[in-house]
């Protein structure tokens, strides 16, 4: 068994072998591998005894369940109106320049993926970004760059 298959087996055992466990299982895979590979989805289908098309159907619906490879750290900058008014464009531009990628792309060293997101629920403290599960409100360009710096230094 590959490591992916073992991980899926483990997640299914933890969450229960039912259709209702599909979301937590997929979320668990994304937590560890950052995206859902074909191998992962096929092995979920097998473990839960449902069609692979069903797994892909659910996975492809949700923004946070990526089916294309992502970097180790996923940055999501809120782009909805209040953050827009508070200057999310400057933040995004600064991140693009610093990481040398465009929105939607992943850095060559696979450290960062830069994405935008719809309202993250911090309209009183915009602009705001989410890195993996951690939230960073009240951003300035300098603050955003410093935060990225600390992630770049983190041992993987």
């Amino acid at each position: 068994m590959s490591t992916t298959q073992l991980m899926v087996k483990d997640l299914v055992e933890k969450n229960g072998r039912t259709r209702n466990s599909l979301m937590p299982v997929l979320q668990g895979i994304v937590q560890q591998e950052k995206f859902l590979s074909e191998e992962a989805m096929l092995s979920v289908a097998e473990e839960l005894d449902i069609s692979a098309a069903e797994v892909y159907s659910t996975a492809s619906f949700y923004t946070f369940l990526d089916t294309v490879p992502r970097g180790k750290n996923i940055i999501r900058v809120c782009k909805t109106i209040t953050c827009h008014m508070k200057g999310k464009d400057e933040i995004i531009n600064a991140l693009c320049n610093a990481l040398k990628i465009k929105v939607g792309e992943t850095t060559h060293d696979n450290q960062f993926t830069l994405l935008t997101a719809n309202c993250l629920g911090w309209c009183h403290k915009g602009p705001v970004m989410l890195i993996n599960d951690d939230i960073y409100p009240d951003l300035t360009v300098q603050k955003a760059l410093e935060i990225i710096g600390t992630y770049a230094k983190k041992p993987q």
């Binding site: 259709r19 599909l22 979301m23 949700y62 923004t63 109106i81 008014m85 993250l120 629920g121």
Partner: protein, 388 residues
């Protein structure tokens, strides 16, 4: 009766002499029917936005015959401009757990779920511990009820109750046809009470203070108070609990920066109110209801950009299941871009308004049905900004 702006403190009140657990112990001694009558009497309506009377929801579910029933807390707060549920989850989670347990006692449920949006996963670490303690307390008291967390994965439409059930069942978050309503067939097709985070806290507090004190706040159509999320052009953004039924002008006087030209009441799917209507607009179910989102725009803002942002949001977040919403959102967005560029005449805006009428009738869920709210209120009041 004319109301004025009044701040209240019910949701976040920390009462040392009467903990939420004490409220729970006391309430579970009372007959379930009496609790339902109190809730109906209080006039509490759902605080998520739709405003269905909470007492009736509990009563309908209580009256269903089924071995299995569920209580679900809708914490999939995704409406742009809303962030109150996050604060409630963070600051007074026990009041939510107690509300759910009281509901379970009333309707006869043994399982409860909190479906929280994935964007709030950072809260899980501390919340899970508090929930584990609460569940252990229930077990110790031999109360046959347990609560679990479910996470969303970044889909706005899952805040729609039937889409939320689909998501919990491991499917695409596509809303169901109604009826049947959740009180008859909700999660796993079993009778389900699904309430917003804030609503559940109010049920706890009504059990604590009695319906009379709650009813004394607000107006005939909008009883009680509500937590507002204030953002945009304001010197004091944040969350505030206010009595319902105030004129919008009072709100602007308190929170505006002195130059407010429009308020978006109720988030992207709500209504835009221009300055000239501040005085005649009541915030409540008799005027403009809101799930709590209040976005303030001053005269430096282009309302074209605001509408464009909202339409982009809906185009991305439409689940794509029904044609009126999937195609409608795209056409509205393309339409205002074409009018702005001069590719279409200004009268094209009236055709687009007709399209929102079709969406209101034909779309399957609240998402598609309500796109016309921001579209028409912004186009009608700021037409020149959309065209030029």
């Amino acid at each position: 009766m004319e109301k004025t702006l009044k701040k209240v403190d019910i949701i976040f009140e920390i009462n040392k002499s009467c903990s939420p657990i004490a409220v729970l112990d006391r309430t579970l001694q009372r007959p379930a029917d009496e609790i339902v009558l109190d809730l109906i009497d209080s006039g509490l309506k759902g605080r998520g936005g739709a405003g269905f009377p909470t007492g009736l929801k509990w009563k309908f579910t209580r009256n269903e015959t089924s071995d299995v029933k569920y209580v679900i807390c809708n914490a999939d707060e995704g409406e742009p401009g809303t962030f109150k549920d996050r604060e409630i989850l963070d600051r007074v989670p026990e009041k939510i757990f107690v509300g759910m347990t009281i509901c379970a006692y009333v309707i006869g449920a043994r399982e409860g779920y909190i479906y929280m949006r994935g964007e709030y996963n950072f809260l899980l670490k501390s919340l899970q511990k508090k929930l584990d303690d609460f569940n252990a307390m229930l077990t110790k008291k031999e109360i046959d009820f347990q609560i679990y967390f479910n996470s969303g994965s970044g889909a706005y439409v899952c805040g729609e109750e039937s889409a939320l059930f689909e998501s919990m069942e491991g499917k695409r978050g596509e809303p169901r046809n109604k009826p049947p309503y959740p009180t008859v067939a909700g999660y796993n097709n079993k009778p389900t009470v699904i309430n917003n985070v804030e609503t559940l806290v109010y049920t706890t507090m009504i059990c604590h203070m009695g319906p009379a004190r709650f009813k004394a706040l607000g107006t005939t159509d909008s009883r009680g108070s509500k937590v507002f999320s204030v953002s945009g052009d304001t010197p004091i953004p944040g969350i505030y609990e206010l009595e319902l039924g105030m004129p919008l002008q009072d709100f602007v006087d308190e929170f505006g920066d002195g130059d407010a030209k429009a308020i978006q009441v109720g988030g992207a799917s709500g209504h835009c109110v221009p300055r000239k209507k501040f005085n005649d607009t009541i915030i409540g179910f008799e005027g403009i209801p809101t799930g709590g989102s209040m976005m303030i725009f001053n005269s430096s803002r282009s309302m074209y950009n605001v509408l464009h942002d909202y339409l982009e949001f809906f185009t991305e977040e439409s689940c794509g299941q029904c044609t009126p919403c999937r195609v409608g959102c795209q056409q509205l967005l393309k339409g205002i871009e074409a009018v702005k560029k001069g590719d279409k005449p200004p009268t094209y805006l009236d055709d687009l308004k007709k399209l929102t009428g079709t969406m209101k009738i034909a779309a399957k869920c609240g998402l598609g049905q309500s796109v016309g709210n921001p579209f028409n209120s912004i186009v009608d009041n700021f037409r020149e900004e959309i065209i030029y």
